[in-house]
Symmetry: C2
Subunit: 209 residues, 2 copies
DNA sequence: AATATTAACGACCGATCGTTCATATTGTTT
DNA sequence: AAACAATATGAACGATCGGTCGTTAATATT
Protein backbone atom coordinates (compact mmCIF):
# COMPACT_ATOMS: atom_id res chain seq x y z
CA UNK A 1 0.00 0.00 0.00
CA UNK A 2 1.42 3.35 -1.08
CA UNK A 3 0.69 6.67 0.53
CA UNK A 4 -0.14 9.13 -2.23
CA UNK A 5 1.04 12.04 -0.16
CA UNK A 6 4.51 10.61 0.34
CA UNK A 7 4.56 9.65 -3.32
CA UNK A 8 3.80 13.21 -4.31
CA UNK A 9 6.52 14.51 -2.01
CA UNK A 10 9.06 12.11 -3.39
CA UNK A 11 8.21 13.13 -6.94
CA UNK A 12 8.70 16.79 -6.08
CA UNK A 13 11.93 16.06 -4.26
CA UNK A 14 13.41 14.30 -7.27
CA UNK A 15 12.27 17.05 -9.64
CA UNK A 16 13.91 19.69 -7.45
CA UNK A 17 17.17 17.76 -7.13
CA UNK A 18 17.32 17.08 -10.86
CA UNK A 19 16.89 20.75 -11.67
CA UNK A 20 19.27 21.75 -8.88
CA UNK A 21 22.13 19.57 -10.11
CA UNK A 22 21.62 20.92 -13.61
CA UNK A 23 21.57 24.50 -12.38
CA UNK A 24 24.48 24.02 -10.00
CA UNK A 25 26.60 22.64 -12.83
CA UNK A 26 26.44 26.16 -14.23
CA UNK A 27 26.16 28.46 -11.24
CA UNK A 28 27.77 26.45 -8.49
CA UNK A 29 26.25 25.60 -5.14
CA UNK A 30 26.44 29.02 -3.53
CA UNK A 31 25.57 30.93 -6.65
CA UNK A 32 22.40 28.89 -6.77
CA UNK A 33 19.59 30.88 -5.17
CA UNK A 34 16.38 29.29 -3.98
CA UNK A 35 14.24 31.77 -5.87
CA UNK A 36 15.95 31.06 -9.18
CA UNK A 37 15.85 27.33 -8.53
CA UNK A 38 12.10 27.33 -8.05
CA UNK A 39 11.51 29.75 -10.93
CA UNK A 40 11.67 26.99 -13.52
CA UNK A 41 9.74 24.52 -11.37
CA UNK A 42 6.19 24.21 -10.17
CA UNK A 43 7.35 24.76 -6.63
CA UNK A 44 7.25 27.80 -4.40
CA UNK A 45 10.27 28.95 -2.47
CA UNK A 46 8.65 28.16 0.86
CA UNK A 47 7.67 24.77 -0.50
CA UNK A 48 11.32 23.80 -0.49
CA UNK A 49 11.39 24.02 3.27
CA UNK A 50 8.79 21.28 3.44
CA UNK A 51 11.49 18.87 2.29
CA UNK A 52 14.71 20.36 3.65
CA UNK A 53 15.11 22.36 6.86
CA UNK A 54 17.48 24.92 5.34
CA UNK A 55 19.62 25.67 2.32
CA UNK A 56 22.59 23.72 3.62
CA UNK A 57 20.52 20.57 3.96
CA UNK A 58 19.32 21.05 0.40
CA UNK A 59 22.90 21.53 -0.77
CA UNK A 60 23.91 18.29 0.89
CA UNK A 61 21.03 16.52 -0.83
CA UNK A 62 22.13 18.02 -4.14
CA UNK A 63 25.66 16.70 -3.69
CA UNK A 64 24.28 13.29 -2.86
CA UNK A 65 22.07 13.38 -5.94
CA UNK A 66 24.94 14.39 -8.21
CA UNK A 67 26.98 11.58 -6.75
CA UNK A 68 24.24 9.03 -7.51
CA UNK A 69 24.02 10.30 -11.08
CA UNK A 70 27.78 9.99 -11.45
CA UNK A 71 27.70 6.41 -10.24
CA UNK A 72 24.75 5.53 -12.43
CA UNK A 73 25.95 7.07 -15.67
CA UNK A 74 29.68 6.47 -15.40
CA UNK A 75 30.81 3.98 -12.78
CA UNK A 76 28.20 1.25 -13.20
CA UNK A 77 28.36 1.06 -17.01
CA UNK A 78 32.16 0.99 -16.84
CA UNK A 79 32.01 -2.05 -14.60
CA UNK A 80 30.55 -4.01 -17.47
CA UNK A 81 34.03 -3.90 -19.02
CA UNK A 82 36.37 -6.75 -18.00
CA UNK A 83 38.68 -6.28 -15.05
CA UNK A 84 42.03 -4.66 -15.61
CA UNK A 85 43.12 -1.88 -17.89
CA UNK A 86 39.98 -2.10 -20.02
CA UNK A 87 37.77 -1.29 -17.07
CA UNK A 88 40.00 1.64 -16.18
CA UNK A 89 39.78 2.91 -19.73
CA UNK A 90 36.01 2.40 -19.82
CA UNK A 91 35.71 4.59 -16.76
CA UNK A 92 37.54 7.45 -18.43
CA UNK A 93 35.71 6.99 -21.69
CA UNK A 94 32.29 7.02 -20.03
CA UNK A 95 33.24 10.18 -18.22
CA UNK A 96 34.28 12.01 -21.38
CA UNK A 97 31.13 10.83 -23.12
CA UNK A 98 29.05 12.05 -20.22
CA UNK A 99 30.57 15.50 -20.56
CA UNK A 100 30.22 15.58 -24.31
CA UNK A 101 26.62 14.37 -24.19
CA UNK A 102 25.62 17.68 -22.60
CA UNK A 103 23.56 15.92 -19.95
CA UNK A 104 24.37 18.80 -17.61
CA UNK A 105 24.35 22.29 -19.10
CA UNK A 106 27.47 23.24 -17.15
CA UNK A 107 29.20 20.00 -18.14
CA UNK A 108 30.04 18.74 -14.67
CA UNK A 109 28.53 19.33 -11.27
CA UNK A 110 31.71 18.64 -9.33
CA UNK A 111 33.82 20.75 -11.64
CA UNK A 112 31.51 23.69 -11.05
CA UNK A 113 31.57 23.45 -7.26
CA UNK A 114 35.10 22.34 -6.39
CA UNK A 115 36.60 25.76 -7.00
CA UNK A 116 34.23 27.63 -4.72
CA UNK A 117 34.60 25.19 -1.81
CA UNK A 118 38.37 24.90 -1.78
CA UNK A 119 38.96 26.64 1.51
CA UNK A 120 35.55 27.04 3.05
CA UNK A 121 35.07 24.57 5.88
CA UNK A 122 31.67 23.06 6.49
CA UNK A 123 29.56 19.97 5.86
CA UNK A 124 28.96 20.79 2.19
CA UNK A 125 32.65 21.07 1.52
CA UNK A 126 33.23 17.78 3.33
CA UNK A 127 30.54 16.05 1.28
CA UNK A 128 32.05 17.21 -2.01
CA UNK A 129 35.54 16.30 -0.86
CA UNK A 130 34.30 12.87 0.15
CA UNK A 131 32.66 12.30 -3.23
CA UNK A 132 35.74 13.33 -5.19
CA UNK A 133 37.97 11.43 -2.78
CA UNK A 134 35.99 8.25 -3.38
CA UNK A 135 36.29 8.75 -7.10
CA UNK A 136 40.05 9.14 -6.77
CA UNK A 137 40.23 6.00 -4.67
CA UNK A 138 38.25 4.15 -7.31
CA UNK A 139 40.66 5.25 -10.02
CA UNK A 140 43.64 4.25 -7.90
CA UNK A 141 42.13 0.88 -6.96
CA UNK A 142 41.29 0.01 -10.56
CA UNK A 143 44.82 0.99 -11.54
CA UNK A 144 46.18 -1.25 -8.82
CA UNK A 145 44.05 -4.14 -10.02
CA UNK A 146 45.18 -3.56 -13.59
CA UNK A 147 48.74 -4.02 -12.36
CA UNK A 148 47.85 -7.08 -10.31
CA UNK A 149 46.18 -8.87 -13.20
CA UNK A 150 49.21 -8.14 -15.35
CA UNK A 151 47.61 -5.63 -17.74
CA UNK A 152 49.92 -2.84 -16.61
CA UNK A 153 53.64 -3.17 -16.08
CA UNK A 154 54.75 -3.95 -12.53
CA UNK A 155 56.17 -0.92 -10.77
CA UNK A 156 53.40 1.32 -12.05
CA UNK A 157 52.30 3.68 -9.28
CA UNK A 158 48.48 3.42 -9.04
CA UNK A 159 48.07 6.72 -7.19
CA UNK A 160 50.22 8.54 -9.72
CA UNK A 161 48.27 7.06 -12.62
CA UNK A 162 44.95 7.90 -10.96
CA UNK A 163 46.13 11.48 -10.53
CA UNK A 164 47.01 11.74 -14.21
CA UNK A 165 43.72 10.27 -15.43
CA UNK A 166 41.75 12.54 -13.14
CA UNK A 167 43.73 15.57 -14.34
CA UNK A 168 42.93 14.88 -17.98
CA UNK A 169 39.31 14.14 -17.19
CA UNK A 170 38.63 17.20 -15.10
CA UNK A 171 40.27 19.82 -17.29
CA UNK A 172 38.22 18.91 -20.33
CA UNK A 173 35.08 20.61 -19.02
CA UNK A 174 36.74 23.98 -18.62
CA UNK A 175 38.33 23.76 -22.04
CA UNK A 176 35.16 22.68 -23.80
CA UNK A 177 32.83 25.16 -22.09
CA UNK A 178 34.90 28.19 -21.15
CA UNK A 179 37.32 28.10 -24.07
CA UNK A 180 34.80 26.49 -26.41
CA UNK A 181 37.45 24.15 -27.77
CA UNK A 182 35.67 21.12 -29.14
CA UNK A 183 38.92 19.25 -29.72
CA UNK A 184 39.29 18.98 -25.94
CA UNK A 185 37.29 15.76 -25.93
CA UNK A 186 39.62 14.19 -28.45
CA UNK A 187 42.69 15.43 -26.59
CA UNK A 188 41.37 13.94 -23.37
CA UNK A 189 40.77 10.59 -25.04
CA UNK A 190 44.13 10.50 -26.75
CA UNK A 191 46.07 11.54 -23.67
CA UNK A 192 44.78 8.78 -21.41
CA UNK A 193 44.69 6.16 -24.13
CA UNK A 194 48.33 6.74 -25.05
CA UNK A 195 49.31 6.81 -21.41
CA UNK A 196 47.60 3.49 -20.72
CA UNK A 197 49.06 1.92 -23.85
CA UNK A 198 52.54 3.00 -22.83
CA UNK A 199 52.06 1.22 -19.50
CA UNK A 200 50.33 -1.85 -20.91
CA UNK A 201 51.96 -5.24 -21.25
CA UNK A 202 49.66 -5.86 -24.22
CA UNK A 203 48.44 -2.61 -25.81
CA UNK A 204 46.30 -4.70 -28.12
CA UNK A 205 43.49 -4.97 -25.57
CA UNK A 206 42.92 -1.22 -25.84
CA UNK A 207 41.27 0.51 -28.80
CA UNK A 208 43.59 2.00 -31.39
CA UNK A 209 42.17 5.49 -30.91
CA UNK B 1 56.40 66.28 -10.47
CA UNK B 2 53.89 63.79 -9.06
CA UNK B 3 50.33 64.57 -8.09
CA UNK B 4 49.89 63.27 -4.55
CA UNK B 5 46.16 62.80 -5.10
CA UNK B 6 46.65 60.49 -8.06
CA UNK B 7 49.39 58.73 -6.15
CA UNK B 8 47.05 58.10 -3.27
CA UNK B 9 44.39 56.77 -5.60
CA UNK B 10 46.81 54.46 -7.30
CA UNK B 11 47.98 53.10 -3.97
CA UNK B 12 44.42 52.38 -2.93
CA UNK B 13 43.64 50.78 -6.27
CA UNK B 14 46.56 48.39 -5.98
CA UNK B 15 45.72 47.52 -2.38
CA UNK B 16 42.14 46.74 -3.35
CA UNK B 17 43.15 44.61 -6.33
CA UNK B 18 45.72 42.70 -4.30
CA UNK B 19 43.19 41.86 -1.65
CA UNK B 20 40.53 41.12 -4.26
CA UNK B 21 42.65 38.58 -6.14
CA UNK B 22 43.51 36.90 -2.86
CA UNK B 23 39.89 36.81 -1.77
CA UNK B 24 38.60 35.73 -5.19
CA UNK B 25 41.03 32.81 -5.19
CA UNK B 26 38.90 31.46 -2.36
CA UNK B 27 35.40 32.75 -2.98
CA UNK B 28 35.35 33.26 -6.72
CA UNK B 29 34.42 36.43 -8.53
CA UNK B 30 30.68 36.37 -7.90
CA UNK B 31 30.91 35.08 -4.38
CA UNK B 32 33.09 38.08 -3.64
CA UNK B 33 30.92 40.81 -2.13
CA UNK B 34 31.99 44.42 -1.99
CA UNK B 35 31.24 44.69 1.72
CA UNK B 36 33.46 41.73 2.59
CA UNK B 37 36.17 42.95 0.26
CA UNK B 38 36.38 46.32 1.99
CA UNK B 39 36.04 44.80 5.45
CA UNK B 40 39.73 43.95 5.68
CA UNK B 41 40.84 47.18 4.01
CA UNK B 42 40.87 50.83 4.96
CA UNK B 43 38.31 51.56 2.29
CA UNK B 44 34.59 52.14 2.49
CA UNK B 45 32.21 50.32 0.20
CA UNK B 46 31.21 53.50 -1.59
CA UNK B 47 34.86 54.40 -1.93
CA UNK B 48 35.24 51.59 -4.44
CA UNK B 49 33.00 53.46 -6.86
CA UNK B 50 35.53 56.26 -6.93
CA UNK B 51 37.81 53.95 -8.91
CA UNK B 52 35.41 51.66 -10.78
CA UNK B 53 31.94 52.56 -12.07
CA UNK B 54 30.35 49.27 -11.03
CA UNK B 55 31.11 45.78 -9.81
CA UNK B 56 31.63 44.39 -13.29
CA UNK B 57 34.34 46.95 -14.03
CA UNK B 58 36.03 46.01 -10.78
CA UNK B 59 35.82 42.34 -11.69
CA UNK B 60 37.47 43.06 -15.02
CA UNK B 61 40.24 44.93 -13.23
CA UNK B 62 40.68 41.99 -10.87
CA UNK B 63 41.06 39.57 -13.78
CA UNK B 64 43.61 41.89 -15.35
CA UNK B 65 45.50 42.09 -12.05
CA UNK B 66 45.55 38.33 -11.60
CA UNK B 67 46.82 38.00 -15.12
CA UNK B 68 49.68 40.42 -14.45
CA UNK B 69 50.62 38.49 -11.32
CA UNK B 70 50.60 35.25 -13.28
CA UNK B 71 52.92 36.71 -15.89
CA UNK B 72 55.21 38.22 -13.29
CA UNK B 73 55.56 35.21 -11.00
CA UNK B 74 55.44 32.40 -13.53
CA UNK B 75 55.93 33.34 -17.16
CA UNK B 76 58.75 35.87 -16.87
CA UNK B 77 60.97 33.80 -14.54
CA UNK B 78 60.45 30.75 -16.76
CA UNK B 79 61.78 32.69 -19.74
CA UNK B 80 65.17 32.83 -18.08
CA UNK B 81 65.48 29.13 -18.87
CA UNK B 82 66.98 28.32 -22.28
CA UNK B 83 64.69 27.84 -25.25
CA UNK B 84 63.22 24.43 -25.85
CA UNK B 85 62.02 21.75 -23.51
CA UNK B 86 63.78 23.27 -20.51
CA UNK B 87 61.75 26.46 -20.83
CA UNK B 88 58.57 24.45 -21.11
CA UNK B 89 59.50 22.53 -18.00
CA UNK B 90 60.43 25.73 -16.16
CA UNK B 91 56.97 27.08 -16.88
CA UNK B 92 55.29 24.10 -15.30
CA UNK B 93 57.70 24.03 -12.39
CA UNK B 94 57.19 27.72 -11.61
CA UNK B 95 53.46 27.17 -11.69
CA UNK B 96 53.53 24.30 -9.22
CA UNK B 97 55.87 26.26 -6.96
CA UNK B 98 53.53 29.22 -7.12
CA UNK B 99 50.67 27.05 -5.94
CA UNK B 100 52.71 25.39 -3.23
CA UNK B 101 54.09 28.70 -1.98
CA UNK B 102 50.61 29.66 -0.78
CA UNK B 103 50.88 33.11 -2.30
CA UNK B 104 47.11 33.01 -2.81
CA UNK B 105 45.02 31.51 0.00
CA UNK B 106 42.80 29.72 -2.51
CA UNK B 107 45.80 28.48 -4.46
CA UNK B 108 44.84 29.84 -7.86
CA UNK B 109 42.67 32.72 -8.98
CA UNK B 110 41.78 31.25 -12.35
CA UNK B 111 41.05 27.85 -10.87
CA UNK B 112 38.56 29.43 -8.50
CA UNK B 113 36.69 31.39 -11.14
CA UNK B 114 36.69 29.16 -14.22
CA UNK B 115 34.02 26.87 -12.85
CA UNK B 116 31.52 29.61 -12.11
CA UNK B 117 31.90 31.33 -15.48
CA UNK B 118 31.64 28.27 -17.70
CA UNK B 119 28.34 29.12 -19.29
CA UNK B 120 27.59 32.64 -18.24
CA UNK B 121 28.15 35.04 -21.12
CA UNK B 122 29.49 38.51 -20.46
CA UNK B 123 32.66 40.59 -20.49
CA UNK B 124 34.06 39.01 -17.33
CA UNK B 125 33.72 35.55 -18.77
CA UNK B 126 35.39 36.71 -21.97
CA UNK B 127 38.28 38.24 -20.04
CA UNK B 128 38.93 35.06 -18.10
CA UNK B 129 38.61 32.95 -21.24
CA UNK B 130 41.06 35.23 -23.00
CA UNK B 131 43.58 34.96 -20.17
CA UNK B 132 43.42 31.18 -20.03
CA UNK B 133 43.39 30.99 -23.81
CA UNK B 134 46.60 33.00 -23.97
CA UNK B 135 48.18 30.71 -21.43
CA UNK B 136 47.20 27.69 -23.51
CA UNK B 137 48.63 29.30 -26.60
CA UNK B 138 51.87 29.96 -24.74
CA UNK B 139 52.12 26.32 -23.68
CA UNK B 140 51.42 25.17 -27.23
CA UNK B 141 53.88 27.63 -28.76
CA UNK B 142 56.68 26.64 -26.38
CA UNK B 143 55.95 23.01 -27.15
CA UNK B 144 56.15 23.78 -30.84
CA UNK B 145 59.48 25.53 -30.40
CA UNK B 146 60.80 22.62 -28.35
CA UNK B 147 60.06 20.40 -31.33
CA UNK B 148 61.62 22.87 -33.78
CA UNK B 149 64.89 23.11 -31.89
CA UNK B 150 65.07 19.33 -31.74
CA UNK B 151 64.49 18.89 -28.00
CA UNK B 152 61.27 16.97 -28.55
CA UNK B 153 60.77 14.23 -31.10
CA UNK B 154 59.33 15.31 -34.44
CA UNK B 155 55.70 14.38 -34.81
CA UNK B 156 54.89 15.57 -31.30
CA UNK B 157 51.55 17.40 -31.32
CA UNK B 158 52.12 20.74 -29.53
CA UNK B 159 48.42 21.34 -28.84
CA UNK B 160 48.03 17.86 -27.40
CA UNK B 161 51.08 18.29 -25.19
CA UNK B 162 49.90 21.72 -24.05
CA UNK B 163 46.55 20.21 -23.11
CA UNK B 164 48.23 17.53 -21.02
CA UNK B 165 50.53 19.92 -19.19
CA UNK B 166 47.65 22.25 -18.46
CA UNK B 167 45.55 19.35 -17.18
CA UNK B 168 48.20 18.27 -14.71
CA UNK B 169 48.86 21.84 -13.63
CA UNK B 170 45.26 22.83 -13.06
CA UNK B 171 44.07 19.79 -11.15
CA UNK B 172 46.75 20.10 -8.50
CA UNK B 173 45.02 23.02 -6.77
CA UNK B 174 41.80 21.13 -6.18
CA UNK B 175 43.65 18.09 -4.93
CA UNK B 176 45.88 20.04 -2.59
CA UNK B 177 43.21 22.32 -1.16
CA UNK B 178 39.91 20.45 -1.35
CA UNK B 179 41.28 16.95 -0.79
CA UNK B 180 44.21 18.18 1.31
CA UNK B 181 46.56 15.78 -0.45
CA UNK B 182 50.04 17.19 -0.14
CA UNK B 183 51.50 14.58 -2.49
CA UNK B 184 49.63 16.29 -5.33
CA UNK B 185 52.53 18.66 -5.92
CA UNK B 186 54.91 15.76 -6.33
CA UNK B 187 52.48 13.91 -8.59
CA UNK B 188 52.13 16.98 -10.77
CA UNK B 189 55.90 17.33 -11.08
CA UNK B 190 56.47 13.69 -11.83
CA UNK B 191 53.67 13.45 -14.37
CA UNK B 192 54.91 16.27 -16.59
CA UNK B 193 58.56 15.49 -16.10
CA UNK B 194 58.12 11.88 -17.16
CA UNK B 195 55.94 12.93 -20.07
CA UNK B 196 58.54 15.41 -21.31
CA UNK B 197 61.36 12.92 -20.84
CA UNK B 198 59.47 10.34 -22.86
CA UNK B 199 59.19 12.83 -25.71
CA UNK B 200 62.74 14.19 -25.44
CA UNK B 201 65.52 13.38 -27.84
CA UNK B 202 67.95 13.89 -24.96
CA UNK B 203 66.28 13.41 -21.56
CA UNK B 204 69.55 14.44 -19.96
CA UNK B 205 68.70 18.13 -20.25
CA UNK B 206 65.82 17.64 -17.82
CA UNK B 207 66.22 17.12 -14.07
CA UNK B 208 66.12 13.54 -12.86
CA UNK B 209 63.14 14.20 -10.59
C1' DA C 1 -18.12 11.71 9.14
C1' DA C 2 -14.54 13.48 11.98
C1' DT C 3 -9.75 13.81 12.81
C1' DA C 4 -4.62 13.51 11.69
C1' DT C 5 -1.02 13.89 8.61
C1' DT C 6 1.59 15.43 4.65
C1' DA C 7 2.55 18.72 0.96
C1' DA C 8 2.51 23.22 -0.68
C1' DC C 9 1.53 28.11 -0.72
C1' DG C 10 1.45 33.48 -0.15
C1' DA C 11 2.75 37.03 2.74
C1' DC C 12 6.14 38.78 5.22
C1' DC C 13 10.75 39.27 7.98
C1' DG C 14 15.60 41.00 8.84
C1' DA C 15 20.00 40.90 6.53
C1' DT C 16 22.76 41.72 2.79
C1' DC C 17 23.39 42.69 -2.01
C1' DG C 18 25.15 46.40 -5.55
C1' DT C 19 24.47 51.24 -6.20
C1' DT C 20 23.52 56.41 -5.70
C1' DC C 21 24.26 60.86 -3.76
C1' DA C 22 25.26 64.80 -1.05
C1' DT C 23 29.13 66.00 1.60
C1' DA C 24 33.82 66.18 3.65
C1' DT C 25 38.82 65.86 3.21
C1' DT C 26 43.05 66.38 1.01
C1' DG C 27 46.15 68.14 -2.35
C1' DT C 28 47.04 71.24 -6.58
C1' DT C 29 46.59 75.36 -9.29
C1' DT C 30 45.90 80.18 -9.84
C1' DA D 1 43.73 83.17 -0.19
C1' DA D 2 40.47 81.45 -3.40
C1' DA D 3 39.09 78.17 -6.73
C1' DC D 4 39.53 73.76 -8.31
C1' DA D 5 40.19 68.68 -8.65
C1' DA D 6 40.74 64.05 -6.89
C1' DT D 7 39.79 60.82 -3.21
C1' DA D 8 36.91 59.04 0.12
C1' DT D 9 32.84 58.80 3.22
C1' DG D 10 28.09 57.76 5.59
C1' DA D 11 23.41 57.48 4.93
C1' DA D 12 20.08 55.69 2.29
C1' DC D 13 17.79 53.05 -1.80
C1' DG D 14 15.39 49.15 -4.22
C1' DA D 15 16.27 44.36 -5.06
C1' DT D 16 17.24 40.02 -3.58
C1' DC D 17 18.89 36.83 -0.22
C1' DG D 18 17.63 32.71 3.11
C1' DG D 19 14.05 31.77 6.23
C1' DT D 20 9.39 31.93 9.20
C1' DC D 21 4.50 31.57 9.85
C1' DG D 22 -0.37 30.89 9.38
C1' DT D 23 -3.28 28.76 6.19
C1' DT D 24 -5.19 25.68 2.52
C1' DA D 25 -5.58 21.30 -0.26
C1' DA D 26 -5.24 16.59 -0.53
C1' DT D 27 -4.84 12.08 1.38
C1' DA D 28 -5.03 8.68 5.18
C1' DT D 29 -6.73 7.03 9.58
C1' DT D 30 -10.19 6.28 13.04
Amino acid sequence: MIDGRLQRGERTRQAVLDAAVRLASVEGLDGLSLARLTATLNVSKSGLFTHWPDKQALQLAIVEHARRQWTEYIVEPAFRAPRGVRRLWALHERRIDFYRSGQLPGGCFFGAVDGELDDRPGPVRDAVADAIGSWMNLLARLSEIAVEVGDLRPGTDPAQLAFEIEAIGSVVVVHAHLLKRENSYRFARTAVLERLRSLSTDPGVLPKE
